[in-house]
Symmetry: C2
DNA sequence: CTCATATTGTTCATAGGGAGAACTATAACA
DNA sequence: TGTTATAGTTCTCCCTATGAACAATATGAG
């Protein structure tokens, strides 16, 4: 009797659903506001900011690879790169093996800016985490990981 | 010896910090992609979509109140409302008590669209939650709530 | 070697997102 | 009856993003 729907997934209460939607919306809001704050603080438009951040992972990037990583079209990347070049944060050299491609890398000034940014990010995220007790923090991260997995799985369904 | 820094908050390991930053970035990404998917699916620009959603909470809205809720300047709201009016999703009447203000409300068509949207949202969020066991889900929501509180507290510091 | 094809990147047109200033119309108060 | 405040609209400007057309270089087939 009790498990007439036992073959279905565990049931989600309406309360949980509402609560969850609200939580996600608020977290999303926080992230967006932090982005905006960052952009103002470091005097960079959002796209240039995100682009700059990718040079931490690899020394040289090309327009094509940036387009791929940022999930935007190449013409968009042209403009972003323009902005960063004009600000003196990245530099461009020709690829010696293929003169169609430009290799992009941080200038010393860009490197310095990235260090400042990373310092700021560590500070902000660290502050968030430090507001929880050690055990709490560990539990939260574990649960967040589970949530991430679940959301990414559902994301795949929405194409 | 061990607690030389006992007066400081519990320490956050570098590993936790990296992990956390990555998790947040990915969750944020998921939310953004879902937004984009929604907009395409319901044939609405993002801003109009978000605006429409606010009519669930109150029957009548004004440009001013929308500007406040959406955290956007009133000229922007004018354009958003224009779009929704043109699509026949909302309607406008003069406030009988103050002829400067326009009262905005959903048309039947707009109501129908909102129902579809809410159905979709419940489905998506429900799917995410249903991928966890009941206990897991409860724990995750609790932890998410704690995270939200922490992030909102830190947000206040960034003004 | 040369011509067709593919790839990298730029420019331009178009459209949405958002801020701010100038302006209109209506209220409200002195 | 004038100020002064408030609600909206319009205009200009900038950022984000796409797609199409176009340049220059690479590459592979004949």
């Amino acid at each position: 009797m009790n498990n007439m729907r036992a073959n279905k997934k565990d049931e989600v209460s309406g309360y949980q659903l509402d609560k969850f939607q609200d939580l996600i919306a608020r977290l999303f809001q926080c992230c967006q506001e932090r982005m905006q704050y960052q952009c103002e603080r470091f005097q960079l438009p959002d796209a240039e900011f995100r682009c700059l951040g990718m040079f931490g992972e690899e020394r040289y990037l090309t327009a094509k690879s940036i387009a791929h990583r940022m999930n935007v079209v190449k013409s968009r990347v042209s403009k972003i790169i323009d902005g960063l070049l004009k600000k003196g944060l990245i530099q461009r050299i020709k690829d010696p093996e293929d003169s169609r491609v430009h290799l992009l890398s941080l200038t010393p000034q860009g490197q310095k800016k990235m260090n400042e940014i990373n310092e700021f990010l560590d500070e902000v995220y660290g502050e968030v985490l430090s507001r929880m007790a050690t055990d709490q923090r560990r539990a939260m991260l574990t649960n967040l990981d589970i949530l991430k997995a679940s959301m990414e799985a559902v994301k795949e369904m929405m194409v």
